[in-house]
Protein backbone atom coordinates (compact mmCIF):
# COMPACT_ATOMS: atom_id res chain seq x y z
CA UNK A 1 0.00 0.00 0.00
CA UNK A 2 2.73 2.43 1.00
CA UNK A 3 6.24 2.77 -0.34
CA UNK A 4 8.56 5.32 1.22
CA UNK A 5 11.88 6.00 -0.49
CA UNK A 6 14.54 8.29 0.98
CA UNK A 7 12.02 10.32 2.81
CA UNK A 8 13.23 13.23 4.94
CA UNK A 9 11.13 15.68 6.87
CA UNK A 10 12.88 18.61 8.53
CA UNK A 11 11.34 21.19 10.85
CA UNK A 12 13.01 24.60 10.84
CA UNK A 13 12.59 27.02 13.67
CA UNK A 14 14.72 29.95 14.74
CA UNK A 15 17.44 28.97 12.26
CA UNK A 16 17.63 25.54 13.79
CA UNK A 17 16.85 22.47 11.80
CA UNK A 18 15.46 19.35 13.35
CA UNK A 19 15.17 16.15 11.34
CA UNK A 20 11.73 15.01 12.38
CA UNK A 21 11.79 11.85 10.28
CA UNK A 22 14.13 10.13 7.91
CA UNK A 23 13.91 6.76 6.20
CA UNK A 24 15.66 5.23 3.24
CA UNK A 25 13.04 2.67 2.49
CA UNK A 26 9.86 1.58 4.11
CA UNK A 27 6.98 -0.46 2.75
CA UNK A 28 3.63 -1.11 4.29
CA UNK A 29 1.53 -3.71 2.58
CA UNK A 30 -2.20 -3.72 2.30
CA UNK A 31 -3.84 -5.53 5.20
CA UNK A 32 -0.95 -5.02 7.60
CA UNK A 33 -1.47 -4.15 11.25
CA UNK A 34 1.44 -1.84 12.09
CA UNK A 35 2.26 -0.32 15.44
CA UNK A 36 4.65 2.61 15.43
CA UNK A 37 6.27 3.00 18.81
CA UNK A 38 8.91 5.25 20.26
CA UNK A 39 9.51 8.00 22.81
CA UNK A 40 8.01 11.48 22.50
CA UNK A 41 9.59 13.42 19.69
CA UNK A 42 10.74 10.32 17.87
CA UNK A 43 8.78 11.17 14.75
CA UNK A 44 5.70 8.98 15.15
CA UNK A 45 3.19 11.71 14.48
CA UNK A 46 5.35 12.99 11.60
CA UNK A 47 5.22 9.54 10.01
CA UNK A 48 1.47 9.37 10.51
CA UNK A 49 1.02 12.81 8.95
CA UNK A 50 3.20 11.80 6.01
CA UNK A 51 1.19 8.64 5.46
CA UNK A 52 -2.07 10.63 5.76
CA UNK A 53 -1.08 12.95 2.96
CA UNK A 54 -1.11 15.94 5.33
CA UNK A 55 2.59 16.69 5.51
CA UNK A 56 4.71 16.73 2.40
CA UNK A 57 8.32 15.47 2.84
CA UNK A 58 11.26 17.69 2.10
CA UNK A 59 12.94 14.92 0.15
CA UNK A 60 12.07 11.54 -1.20
CA UNK A 61 9.05 9.88 -2.62
CA UNK A 62 5.99 8.45 -0.97
CA UNK A 63 3.88 6.14 -3.07
CA UNK A 64 0.36 5.18 -2.09
CA UNK A 65 -1.05 2.30 -4.08
CA UNK A 66 1.70 2.86 -6.63
CA UNK A 67 0.96 6.55 -7.04
CA UNK A 68 3.04 9.42 -5.74
CA UNK A 69 0.91 10.77 -2.92
CA UNK A 70 2.49 14.19 -2.91
CA UNK A 71 2.44 14.34 -6.67
CA UNK A 72 -1.29 14.75 -6.38
CA UNK A 73 -2.86 18.20 -5.97
CA UNK A 74 -4.16 19.31 -2.60
CA UNK A 75 -7.74 18.62 -3.62
CA UNK A 76 -6.85 15.17 -4.97
CA UNK A 77 -5.12 14.29 -1.74
CA UNK A 78 -8.06 15.59 0.21
CA UNK A 79 -10.40 13.42 -1.84
CA UNK A 80 -8.16 10.42 -1.37
CA UNK A 81 -8.09 11.00 2.36
CA UNK A 82 -11.83 11.32 2.40
CA UNK A 83 -12.48 8.15 0.44
CA UNK A 84 -9.75 5.79 1.57
CA UNK A 85 -8.33 6.83 4.92
CA UNK A 86 -9.94 6.80 8.32
CA UNK A 87 -8.43 8.51 11.32
CA UNK A 88 -8.62 7.67 14.98
CA UNK A 89 -7.42 10.39 17.34
CA UNK A 90 -6.20 10.22 20.90
CA UNK A 91 -8.57 12.97 22.01
CA UNK A 92 -11.31 11.62 19.75
CA UNK A 93 -11.65 15.05 18.11
CA UNK A 94 -15.40 14.84 18.01
CA UNK A 95 -17.15 18.07 17.04
CA UNK A 96 -18.50 19.23 20.43
CA UNK A 97 -21.66 20.87 19.17
CA UNK A 98 -22.81 17.95 17.04
CA UNK A 99 -24.61 14.86 18.28
CA UNK A 100 -23.13 11.40 18.03
CA UNK A 101 -25.17 10.75 14.92
CA UNK A 102 -24.12 14.01 13.32
CA UNK A 103 -20.46 13.42 14.13
CA UNK A 104 -20.56 10.14 12.30
CA UNK A 105 -22.32 11.84 9.38
CA UNK A 106 -19.55 14.40 8.90
CA UNK A 107 -17.27 12.24 6.71
CA UNK A 108 -20.33 11.09 4.74
CA UNK A 109 -21.33 14.70 4.15
CA UNK A 110 -17.79 15.48 3.06
CA UNK A 111 -18.02 12.49 0.72
CA UNK A 112 -21.18 13.84 -0.90
CA UNK A 113 -23.59 11.19 0.37
CA UNK A 114 -27.26 12.10 0.49
CA UNK A 115 -28.83 13.14 3.78
CA UNK A 116 -31.11 10.11 3.99
CA UNK A 117 -28.28 7.67 3.35
CA UNK A 118 -26.09 9.56 5.83
CA UNK A 119 -28.66 9.05 8.54
CA UNK A 120 -29.19 5.39 7.78
CA UNK A 121 -25.52 4.48 7.63
CA UNK A 122 -24.60 6.52 10.67
CA UNK A 123 -27.37 4.89 12.67
CA UNK A 124 -26.18 1.45 11.60
CA UNK A 125 -22.58 2.22 12.54
CA UNK A 126 -23.51 3.52 15.96
CA UNK A 127 -25.66 0.46 16.54
CA UNK A 128 -22.69 -1.69 15.64
CA UNK A 129 -20.60 0.02 18.30
CA UNK A 130 -23.38 -0.37 20.83
CA UNK A 131 -24.57 3.22 20.94
CA UNK A 132 -28.01 2.87 19.43
CA UNK A 133 -29.49 4.68 22.44
CA UNK A 134 -27.06 7.59 22.30
CA UNK A 135 -27.65 8.85 18.80
CA UNK A 136 -28.74 12.34 19.84
CA UNK A 137 -26.27 12.82 22.63
CA UNK A 138 -23.52 15.34 22.33
CA UNK A 139 -19.97 14.35 23.22
CA UNK A 140 -20.16 16.12 26.55
CA UNK A 141 -23.08 13.83 27.40
CA UNK A 142 -21.11 10.65 26.67
CA UNK A 143 -18.47 8.82 28.69
CA UNK A 144 -14.90 8.63 27.47
CA UNK A 145 -15.39 5.13 26.15
CA UNK A 146 -18.60 6.07 24.41
CA UNK A 147 -16.90 9.03 22.79
CA UNK A 148 -14.16 6.80 21.46
CA UNK A 149 -16.77 4.42 20.05
CA UNK A 150 -18.46 7.33 18.29
CA UNK A 151 -15.05 8.27 16.93
CA UNK A 152 -14.52 4.71 15.73
CA UNK A 153 -17.92 4.74 14.03
CA UNK A 154 -16.93 7.98 12.36
CA UNK A 155 -13.69 6.40 11.21
CA UNK A 156 -15.65 3.72 9.38
CA UNK A 157 -18.18 6.15 7.94
CA UNK A 158 -16.70 6.15 4.44
CA UNK A 159 -15.54 2.52 4.61
CA UNK A 160 -11.83 3.32 4.41
CA UNK A 161 -9.22 0.76 3.39
CA UNK A 162 -6.57 2.40 5.56
CA UNK A 163 -6.89 3.46 9.17
CA UNK A 164 -4.36 5.79 10.77
CA UNK A 165 -4.67 5.83 14.52
CA UNK A 166 -2.91 8.28 16.80
CA UNK A 167 -2.71 6.91 20.36
CA UNK A 168 -6.18 5.37 20.09
CA UNK A 169 -6.07 3.96 23.62
CA UNK A 170 -4.24 6.81 25.29
CA UNK A 171 -7.16 8.22 27.27
CA UNK A 172 -9.11 5.08 27.88
CA UNK A 173 -9.71 2.81 30.81
CA UNK A 174 -8.70 -0.83 30.35
CA UNK A 175 -12.20 -1.95 29.42
CA UNK A 176 -12.60 0.68 26.74
CA UNK A 177 -9.09 0.04 25.56
CA UNK A 178 -9.96 -3.58 24.96
CA UNK A 179 -13.05 -2.58 23.03
CA UNK A 180 -10.98 -0.42 20.69
CA UNK A 181 -8.27 -3.00 20.17
CA UNK A 182 -10.85 -5.67 19.51
CA UNK A 183 -12.38 -3.48 16.87
CA UNK A 184 -8.98 -3.01 15.31
CA UNK A 185 -8.56 -6.75 15.21
CA UNK A 186 -11.86 -6.92 13.39
CA UNK A 187 -10.79 -4.21 10.95
CA UNK A 188 -7.67 -6.16 10.09
CA UNK A 189 -9.61 -9.34 9.65
CA UNK A 190 -11.85 -7.36 7.25
CA UNK A 191 -8.77 -6.67 5.16
CA UNK A 192 -8.13 -3.12 6.19
CA UNK A 193 -4.66 -1.75 6.82
CA UNK A 194 -3.99 -0.20 10.24
CA UNK A 195 -1.05 2.01 11.14
CA UNK A 196 -1.23 2.79 14.82
CA UNK A 197 0.98 5.20 16.75
CA UNK A 198 1.05 4.20 20.37
CA UNK A 199 2.90 4.36 23.67
CA UNK A 200 0.73 1.58 24.95
CA UNK A 201 2.72 -1.68 25.03
CA UNK A 202 -0.39 -3.78 25.40
CA UNK A 203 -1.78 -2.13 22.29
CA UNK A 204 1.48 -2.45 20.40
CA UNK A 205 1.75 -6.20 20.94
CA UNK A 206 -1.65 -6.64 19.29
CA UNK A 207 -0.11 -5.39 16.05
CA UNK A 208 1.62 -7.87 13.77
CA UNK A 209 4.35 -5.43 12.87
CA UNK A 210 6.16 -3.04 15.16
CA UNK A 211 8.28 -0.13 13.94
CA UNK A 212 10.45 1.46 16.60
CA UNK A 213 11.43 5.07 16.05
CA UNK A 214 14.03 7.12 17.79
CA UNK A 215 15.16 10.61 16.88
CA UNK A 216 13.21 10.41 13.66
CA UNK A 217 14.78 7.19 12.43
CA UNK A 218 13.61 3.61 12.32
CA UNK A 219 15.60 1.66 14.86
CA UNK A 220 13.85 -1.63 14.37
CA UNK A 221 11.10 -3.03 12.25
CA UNK A 222 9.82 -6.38 13.37
CA UNK A 223 7.07 -8.36 11.83
CA UNK A 224 5.61 -11.09 14.03
CA UNK A 225 3.89 -12.71 11.08
CA UNK A 226 7.16 -13.11 9.23
CA UNK A 227 8.88 -14.28 12.42
CA UNK A 228 6.13 -16.83 13.01
CA UNK A 229 6.38 -18.03 9.44
CA UNK A 230 10.15 -18.35 9.83
CA UNK A 231 9.73 -20.17 13.05
CA UNK A 232 7.22 -22.41 11.46
Amino acid sequence: MFQLREITKIYRKRRQEVVAFRVDQLEIAAGEYVAVVGPSGSGKTTLLSLLGGMLSPDNGQLLFQGQSLYGLSLNERTRLRREQIGFVFQTFNLVPYLTALENVQVPMYLGGISAAEQRDRATTLLEQVGLADRLDHKPCELSTGQQQRVALARTLANNPRLILADEPTGNLDPESREVVLSMFDTFVRDGRTIVMVTHDHSAAIRAARKILLKDGQIISDTNDAISRSHCA
Partner: protein, 406 residues
Protein backbone atom coordinates in the same frame (compact mmCIF):
# COMPACT_ATOMS: atom_id res chain seq x y z
CA UNK B 1 -25.69 16.88 7.87
CA UNK B 2 -24.79 19.78 5.61
CA UNK B 3 -22.83 23.00 5.77
CA UNK B 4 -25.78 24.98 7.05
CA UNK B 5 -26.29 22.54 9.93
CA UNK B 6 -22.60 22.61 10.74
CA UNK B 7 -22.61 26.40 10.91
CA UNK B 8 -25.93 26.88 12.66
CA UNK B 9 -25.21 24.24 15.31
CA UNK B 10 -21.94 25.88 16.19
CA UNK B 11 -23.59 29.28 16.40
CA UNK B 12 -26.51 28.19 18.51
CA UNK B 13 -24.19 26.48 20.96
CA UNK B 14 -23.33 29.88 22.38
CA UNK B 15 -26.17 32.31 21.61
CA UNK B 16 -24.86 35.07 23.85
CA UNK B 17 -21.57 35.09 22.01
CA UNK B 18 -23.47 35.24 18.76
CA UNK B 19 -25.52 38.20 19.95
CA UNK B 20 -22.44 40.04 21.19
CA UNK B 21 -20.71 39.65 17.89
CA UNK B 22 -23.69 41.03 15.98
CA UNK B 23 -24.19 43.95 18.33
CA UNK B 24 -21.94 46.35 16.50
CA UNK B 25 -23.54 45.56 13.16
CA UNK B 26 -27.02 45.71 14.63
CA UNK B 27 -26.46 49.08 16.25
CA UNK B 28 -24.82 50.46 13.15
CA UNK B 29 -27.67 49.35 10.89
CA UNK B 30 -30.21 50.64 13.40
CA UNK B 31 -28.67 54.08 13.37
CA UNK B 32 -28.28 54.10 9.60
CA UNK B 33 -31.88 53.05 8.95
CA UNK B 34 -33.33 55.43 11.53
CA UNK B 35 -31.38 58.44 10.33
CA UNK B 36 -32.01 57.72 6.69
CA UNK B 37 -35.75 57.22 7.10
CA UNK B 38 -36.20 60.38 9.12
CA UNK B 39 -34.05 62.31 6.66
CA UNK B 40 -35.92 61.11 3.60
CA UNK B 41 -39.35 61.78 5.03
CA UNK B 42 -38.27 65.09 6.43
CA UNK B 43 -36.93 66.09 3.03
CA UNK B 44 -40.18 65.01 1.43
CA UNK B 45 -42.11 67.01 3.98
CA UNK B 46 -40.00 70.07 3.29
CA UNK B 47 -40.42 69.53 -0.43
CA UNK B 48 -44.18 69.27 -0.01
CA UNK B 49 -44.22 72.36 2.14
CA UNK B 50 -42.24 74.26 -0.44
CA UNK B 51 -44.49 72.95 -3.16
CA UNK B 52 -47.67 73.78 -1.32
CA UNK B 53 -46.35 77.15 -0.27
CA UNK B 54 -45.39 77.84 -3.81
CA UNK B 55 -43.12 80.68 -4.73
CA UNK B 56 -43.69 82.53 -1.50
CA UNK B 57 -41.97 85.44 0.04
CA UNK B 58 -42.42 86.50 3.62
CA UNK B 59 -42.34 90.07 4.90
CA UNK B 60 -41.51 90.21 8.60
CA UNK B 61 -40.72 92.95 11.08
CA UNK B 62 -37.04 93.85 11.06
CA UNK B 63 -36.31 92.31 14.43
CA UNK B 64 -38.25 89.10 13.91
CA UNK B 65 -36.47 85.84 13.28
CA UNK B 66 -37.57 83.07 11.00
CA UNK B 67 -38.02 80.82 13.98
CA UNK B 68 -40.37 83.37 15.52
CA UNK B 69 -42.60 83.14 12.50
CA UNK B 70 -42.38 79.41 12.25
CA UNK B 71 -43.42 79.08 15.87
CA UNK B 72 -46.03 81.83 15.53
CA UNK B 73 -44.39 83.77 18.32
CA UNK B 74 -44.48 87.32 17.04
CA UNK B 75 -46.59 89.10 19.60
CA UNK B 76 -44.28 92.00 20.19
CA UNK B 77 -43.13 92.86 16.69
CA UNK B 78 -45.35 94.41 14.08
CA UNK B 79 -45.57 96.10 10.72
CA UNK B 80 -48.08 98.70 9.60
CA UNK B 81 -50.96 97.08 7.74
CA UNK B 82 -50.54 99.78 5.13
CA UNK B 83 -47.57 97.82 3.83
CA UNK B 84 -50.11 95.49 2.22
CA UNK B 85 -51.50 98.32 0.21
CA UNK B 86 -48.00 99.53 -0.62
CA UNK B 87 -47.17 96.15 -2.11
CA UNK B 88 -50.37 96.11 -4.13
CA UNK B 89 -49.86 99.64 -5.35
CA UNK B 90 -46.34 98.88 -6.44
CA UNK B 91 -47.89 96.42 -8.89
CA UNK B 92 -44.91 94.10 -8.76
CA UNK B 93 -44.93 91.49 -11.50
CA UNK B 94 -45.69 88.00 -10.30
CA UNK B 95 -47.57 88.83 -7.11
CA UNK B 96 -50.55 86.53 -7.08
CA UNK B 97 -51.95 86.89 -3.57
CA UNK B 98 -51.17 88.61 -0.31
CA UNK B 99 -51.92 87.26 3.13
CA UNK B 100 -51.25 89.57 6.05
CA UNK B 101 -51.36 88.00 9.50
CA UNK B 102 -51.36 89.14 13.12
CA UNK B 103 -50.50 86.50 15.71
CA UNK B 104 -51.26 86.90 19.39
CA UNK B 105 -51.24 84.46 22.29
CA UNK B 106 -54.62 83.54 23.69
CA UNK B 107 -56.30 80.79 25.63
CA UNK B 108 -59.28 78.56 25.18
CA UNK B 109 -60.32 76.80 28.37
CA UNK B 110 -56.88 77.49 29.82
CA UNK B 111 -55.19 75.86 26.83
CA UNK B 112 -52.74 78.15 25.05
CA UNK B 113 -53.54 78.81 21.42
CA UNK B 114 -52.28 81.25 18.83
CA UNK B 115 -54.98 83.65 17.70
CA UNK B 116 -54.11 84.60 14.14
CA UNK B 117 -55.79 87.48 12.40
CA UNK B 118 -55.97 86.88 8.65
CA UNK B 119 -57.43 88.99 5.89
CA UNK B 120 -59.84 87.05 3.65
CA UNK B 121 -59.15 87.31 -0.06
CA UNK B 122 -62.58 88.79 -0.69
CA UNK B 123 -61.30 91.95 1.02
CA UNK B 124 -58.86 92.30 -1.83
CA UNK B 125 -61.66 92.46 -4.37
CA UNK B 126 -61.84 96.21 -4.27
CA UNK B 127 -58.07 96.41 -4.21
CA UNK B 128 -57.90 94.36 -7.40
CA UNK B 129 -58.74 97.56 -9.18
CA UNK B 130 -55.47 99.00 -7.98
CA UNK B 131 -53.54 96.57 -10.14
CA UNK B 132 -55.25 97.68 -13.29
CA UNK B 133 -54.43 101.29 -12.70
CA UNK B 134 -51.14 101.00 -14.52
CA UNK B 135 -52.56 99.21 -17.50
CA UNK B 136 -50.13 96.74 -19.04
CA UNK B 137 -47.40 97.42 -16.53
CA UNK B 138 -47.92 94.19 -14.60
CA UNK B 139 -46.35 92.05 -17.27
CA UNK B 140 -44.35 89.15 -15.97
CA UNK B 141 -42.55 87.87 -19.02
CA UNK B 142 -42.65 84.13 -19.31
CA UNK B 143 -45.43 83.63 -16.81
CA UNK B 144 -48.74 82.49 -18.17
CA UNK B 145 -50.65 82.68 -14.95
CA UNK B 146 -52.16 86.14 -15.12
CA UNK B 147 -55.49 85.62 -13.48
CA UNK B 148 -57.90 86.22 -16.28
CA UNK B 149 -61.56 86.58 -15.74
CA UNK B 150 -63.45 87.62 -12.66
CA UNK B 151 -62.30 86.13 -9.41
CA UNK B 152 -64.82 84.19 -7.39
CA UNK B 153 -64.09 84.06 -3.71
CA UNK B 154 -65.99 80.92 -2.95
CA UNK B 155 -63.28 78.53 -1.81
CA UNK B 156 -64.07 76.34 1.19
CA UNK B 157 -62.68 77.69 4.47
CA UNK B 158 -60.79 74.42 4.96
CA UNK B 159 -58.63 75.36 1.98
CA UNK B 160 -56.79 77.68 4.37
CA UNK B 161 -54.72 74.66 5.41
CA UNK B 162 -53.37 74.06 1.94
CA UNK B 163 -53.74 77.42 0.20
CA UNK B 164 -52.65 79.53 3.17
CA UNK B 165 -55.40 82.05 2.40
CA UNK B 166 -59.11 82.04 3.02
CA UNK B 167 -61.64 83.50 0.64
CA UNK B 168 -64.42 84.54 2.98
CA UNK B 169 -64.33 85.22 6.71
CA UNK B 170 -66.71 87.49 8.56
CA UNK B 171 -65.69 89.65 11.47
CA UNK B 172 -67.34 87.37 14.02
CA UNK B 173 -66.16 84.07 12.53
CA UNK B 174 -63.21 81.84 13.31
CA UNK B 175 -61.53 78.83 11.72
CA UNK B 176 -59.76 76.54 14.17
CA UNK B 177 -56.86 74.12 13.84
CA UNK B 178 -57.16 70.38 14.37
CA UNK B 179 -55.48 70.33 17.80
CA UNK B 180 -57.65 73.16 19.04
CA UNK B 181 -60.77 71.33 17.94
CA UNK B 182 -59.56 68.21 19.66
CA UNK B 183 -58.97 69.59 23.12
CA UNK B 184 -61.81 72.09 23.07
CA UNK B 185 -64.32 69.74 21.42
CA UNK B 186 -65.40 72.61 19.19
CA UNK B 187 -67.19 71.98 15.91
CA UNK B 188 -68.49 74.22 13.12
CA UNK B 189 -71.40 76.20 14.42
CA UNK B 190 -70.14 76.31 18.00
CA UNK B 191 -69.16 79.54 19.73
CA UNK B 192 -65.81 80.24 21.31
CA UNK B 193 -64.94 83.07 23.63
CA UNK B 194 -61.50 84.60 23.40
CA UNK B 195 -60.12 87.87 24.73
CA UNK B 196 -63.58 88.97 25.75
CA UNK B 197 -65.17 88.38 22.37
CA UNK B 198 -67.35 85.57 21.08
CA UNK B 199 -66.60 84.08 17.69
CA UNK B 200 -68.55 81.52 15.67
CA UNK B 201 -66.59 78.52 14.52
CA UNK B 202 -66.88 78.46 10.73
CA UNK B 203 -64.74 75.40 10.05
CA UNK B 204 -62.15 73.05 11.50
CA UNK B 205 -58.97 72.72 9.46
CA UNK B 206 -57.61 69.30 8.53
CA UNK B 207 -54.53 68.25 10.47
CA UNK B 208 -51.38 69.62 8.89
CA UNK B 209 -48.75 68.55 11.42
CA UNK B 210 -47.60 72.16 11.66
CA UNK B 211 -48.09 74.97 14.13
CA UNK B 212 -51.33 75.78 12.30
CA UNK B 213 -52.99 72.91 14.16
CA UNK B 214 -52.92 74.98 17.32
CA UNK B 215 -54.08 78.22 15.75
CA UNK B 216 -57.42 79.98 15.75
CA UNK B 217 -57.87 82.10 12.64
CA UNK B 218 -60.13 85.15 12.81
CA UNK B 219 -60.59 88.29 10.72
CA UNK B 220 -57.51 90.46 10.93
CA UNK B 221 -59.42 93.58 11.86
CA UNK B 222 -61.32 91.71 14.56
CA UNK B 223 -58.09 90.55 16.13
CA UNK B 224 -56.66 94.06 15.90
CA UNK B 225 -59.70 95.34 17.76
CA UNK B 226 -59.68 92.53 20.33
CA UNK B 227 -56.08 93.21 21.18
CA UNK B 228 -56.04 96.99 20.73
CA UNK B 229 -53.02 96.40 18.58
CA UNK B 230 -53.93 99.05 16.06
CA UNK B 231 -53.67 98.73 12.31
CA UNK B 232 -50.73 96.39 12.37
CA UNK B 233 -49.72 92.96 11.24
CA UNK B 234 -46.66 90.92 12.08
CA UNK B 235 -46.24 89.03 8.84
CA UNK B 236 -47.27 89.42 5.22
CA UNK B 237 -47.09 86.35 3.05
CA UNK B 238 -46.63 87.20 -0.61
CA UNK B 239 -47.61 84.38 -2.93
CA UNK B 240 -45.79 84.54 -6.21
CA UNK B 241 -47.25 83.20 -9.41
CA UNK B 242 -44.15 81.20 -10.16
CA UNK B 243 -40.57 80.68 -9.07
CA UNK B 244 -39.28 83.09 -11.72
CA UNK B 245 -41.24 85.98 -10.31
CA UNK B 246 -40.44 85.11 -6.72
CA UNK B 247 -36.76 85.49 -7.40
CA UNK B 248 -37.07 89.14 -8.34
CA UNK B 249 -39.64 89.94 -5.69
CA UNK B 250 -37.29 89.82 -2.73
CA UNK B 251 -35.02 92.72 -3.66
CA UNK B 252 -37.91 94.83 -4.89
CA UNK B 253 -39.91 94.27 -1.74
CA UNK B 254 -36.86 95.02 0.37
CA UNK B 255 -36.48 98.30 -1.46
CA UNK B 256 -40.16 99.12 -1.11
CA UNK B 257 -40.31 98.28 2.59
CA UNK B 258 -36.99 99.29 4.13
CA UNK B 259 -38.28 98.81 7.69
CA UNK B 260 -39.14 95.15 7.07
CA UNK B 261 -37.28 91.90 6.62
CA UNK B 262 -38.03 90.09 3.37
CA UNK B 263 -37.29 86.38 3.17
CA UNK B 264 -38.32 83.48 1.05
CA UNK B 265 -40.08 80.45 2.39
CA UNK B 266 -37.09 78.35 1.45
CA UNK B 267 -35.07 80.40 3.92
CA UNK B 268 -37.66 79.62 6.57
CA UNK B 269 -37.28 75.96 6.01
CA UNK B 270 -33.56 76.27 5.41
CA UNK B 271 -32.96 75.34 9.01
CA UNK B 272 -34.87 72.17 8.40
CA UNK B 273 -33.07 71.72 5.11
CA UNK B 274 -29.80 72.27 6.90
CA UNK B 275 -30.72 69.71 9.51
CA UNK B 276 -31.72 67.30 6.79
CA UNK B 277 -28.42 67.84 5.06
CA UNK B 278 -26.60 67.29 8.31
CA UNK B 279 -28.53 64.12 8.89
CA UNK B 280 -27.70 62.94 5.40
CA UNK B 281 -24.07 63.50 6.13
CA UNK B 282 -24.52 61.83 9.49
CA UNK B 283 -25.91 58.79 7.79
CA UNK B 284 -22.78 58.64 5.65
CA UNK B 285 -20.73 58.91 8.81
CA UNK B 286 -22.73 56.08 10.34
CA UNK B 287 -22.05 53.99 7.25
CA UNK B 288 -18.38 54.63 7.81
CA UNK B 289 -18.65 53.68 11.46
CA UNK B 290 -20.64 50.62 10.52
CA UNK B 291 -18.00 49.53 8.10
CA UNK B 292 -15.10 50.13 10.44
CA UNK B 293 -16.48 49.15 13.82
CA UNK B 294 -18.93 46.54 12.67
CA UNK B 295 -16.51 45.04 10.24
CA UNK B 296 -13.69 45.04 12.77
CA UNK B 297 -15.95 43.43 15.33
CA UNK B 298 -16.96 40.66 12.99
CA UNK B 299 -13.40 40.15 11.78
CA UNK B 300 -12.24 39.88 15.37
CA UNK B 301 -15.04 37.48 16.23
CA UNK B 302 -14.35 35.19 13.31
CA UNK B 303 -10.59 35.30 13.87
CA UNK B 304 -11.12 34.40 17.50
CA UNK B 305 -13.49 31.65 16.45
CA UNK B 306 -10.87 30.26 14.08
CA UNK B 307 -8.29 30.20 16.88
CA UNK B 308 -10.70 28.42 19.22
CA UNK B 309 -11.55 25.81 16.62
CA UNK B 310 -8.10 24.98 15.34
CA UNK B 311 -8.26 21.38 16.38
CA UNK B 312 -11.78 21.03 14.99
CA UNK B 313 -10.75 22.56 11.67
CA UNK B 314 -7.66 20.35 11.56
CA UNK B 315 -9.87 17.35 12.15
CA UNK B 316 -12.25 18.35 9.40
CA UNK B 317 -9.33 18.80 7.03
CA UNK B 318 -8.01 15.41 8.05
CA UNK B 319 -11.43 13.88 7.47
CA UNK B 320 -11.41 15.24 3.92
CA UNK B 321 -12.81 18.76 4.09
CA UNK B 322 -11.42 20.97 1.35
CA UNK B 323 -9.93 24.36 2.21
CA UNK B 324 -12.74 26.02 0.28
CA UNK B 325 -15.29 24.25 2.44
CA UNK B 326 -13.60 25.54 5.56
CA UNK B 327 -13.60 29.06 4.09
CA UNK B 328 -17.28 28.77 3.24
CA UNK B 329 -18.04 27.56 6.73
CA UNK B 330 -16.68 30.68 8.33
CA UNK B 331 -18.05 32.99 5.66
CA UNK B 332 -21.48 31.47 6.12
CA UNK B 333 -21.24 32.10 9.82
CA UNK B 334 -20.29 35.71 9.14
CA UNK B 335 -23.16 36.03 6.68
CA UNK B 336 -25.62 34.73 9.24
CA UNK B 337 -24.27 37.23 11.75
CA UNK B 338 -24.67 39.91 9.13
CA UNK B 339 -28.19 38.78 8.36
CA UNK B 340 -29.18 38.78 12.01
CA UNK B 341 -27.58 42.15 12.57
CA UNK B 342 -29.09 43.50 9.38
CA UNK B 343 -32.63 42.28 9.99
CA UNK B 344 -32.51 43.26 13.63
CA UNK B 345 -30.99 46.62 12.82
CA UNK B 346 -33.53 47.34 10.09
CA UNK B 347 -36.41 46.45 12.40
CA UNK B 348 -35.11 48.48 15.31
CA UNK B 349 -34.09 51.33 13.05
CA UNK B 350 -37.48 51.47 11.40
CA UNK B 351 -39.25 51.40 14.73
CA UNK B 352 -37.03 54.16 16.05
CA UNK B 353 -37.63 56.24 12.94
CA UNK B 354 -41.39 55.86 13.24
CA UNK B 355 -41.39 56.81 16.90
CA UNK B 356 -38.77 59.52 16.83
CA UNK B 357 -39.63 60.90 13.42
CA UNK B 358 -43.01 62.07 14.57
CA UNK B 359 -41.71 63.24 17.92
CA UNK B 360 -38.57 65.07 16.87
CA UNK B 361 -38.99 65.96 13.23
CA UNK B 362 -42.76 66.10 13.05
CA UNK B 363 -42.90 63.75 10.09
CA UNK B 364 -44.76 60.48 9.61
CA UNK B 365 -42.33 57.76 8.63
CA UNK B 366 -43.17 54.60 6.73
CA UNK B 367 -40.82 51.86 5.55
CA UNK B 368 -38.62 52.44 2.53
CA UNK B 369 -38.31 48.88 1.21
CA UNK B 370 -35.52 49.69 -1.24
CA UNK B 371 -33.35 51.28 1.41
CA UNK B 372 -34.01 48.49 3.90
CA UNK B 373 -32.80 46.01 1.31
CA UNK B 374 -29.72 48.12 0.73
CA UNK B 375 -29.01 48.31 4.47
CA UNK B 376 -29.43 44.56 4.77
CA UNK B 377 -27.18 43.96 1.80
CA UNK B 378 -24.62 46.34 3.25
CA UNK B 379 -24.62 44.49 6.58
CA UNK B 380 -24.19 41.20 4.76
CA UNK B 381 -21.44 42.54 2.56
CA UNK B 382 -19.55 44.13 5.45
CA UNK B 383 -19.64 41.02 7.62
CA UNK B 384 -18.73 38.69 4.78
CA UNK B 385 -15.87 40.88 3.62
CA UNK B 386 -14.61 41.35 7.18
CA UNK B 387 -14.60 37.61 7.72
CA UNK B 388 -12.82 36.82 4.48
CA UNK B 389 -9.24 36.97 5.72
CA UNK B 390 -9.89 35.02 8.94
CA UNK B 391 -11.83 32.45 6.90
CA UNK B 392 -8.95 32.09 4.47
CA UNK B 393 -6.50 31.68 7.33
CA UNK B 394 -8.72 28.92 8.70
CA UNK B 395 -8.57 27.13 5.37
CA UNK B 396 -4.80 27.27 5.47
CA UNK B 397 -4.59 25.69 8.92
CA UNK B 398 -2.30 22.71 9.21
CA UNK B 399 -4.45 19.56 9.34
CA UNK B 400 -1.78 18.04 11.56
CA UNK B 401 -3.31 20.12 14.34
CA UNK B 402 -5.73 17.28 14.75
CA UNK B 403 -2.97 15.17 16.24
CA UNK B 404 -2.28 15.09 19.90
CA UNK B 405 1.19 16.48 20.32
CA UNK B 406 1.11 19.28 17.77
Amino acid sequence: MNLRTLVWREMSERPSAMFTSTLAILLGVTALVAIRHVTVFSEREVGQQLQSLGANVLVLPEGATLQDYYSADLTSQTLPESHVASILLENLPGVERLSPKLCVSAKIAEHPVTLTGILPQSEFQAKAAWQSVSLFSNKHEGCTRAACGPKTYDGAPESLASERTIDQLKGNEAVIGADVAEFSKLKPGNSVKMLGETLQVLAVLPRTGTVDDSRVFAHLHTVQRMTNAGEVVNAIEVMGCCEDAAGSLVPRLAELLPDAKVVTISQIVSTQVGINRLMSQMSLFVVGVLVVVGGASVASTIASNVRERRREVGTLLALGATPSLVTRMFLMKASILGLIGGVGGCSLGLLSAILLGSRWAGVAVSPLPDFLLIALAAALAITTLAAYLPARSAARLDPCRCFSDV
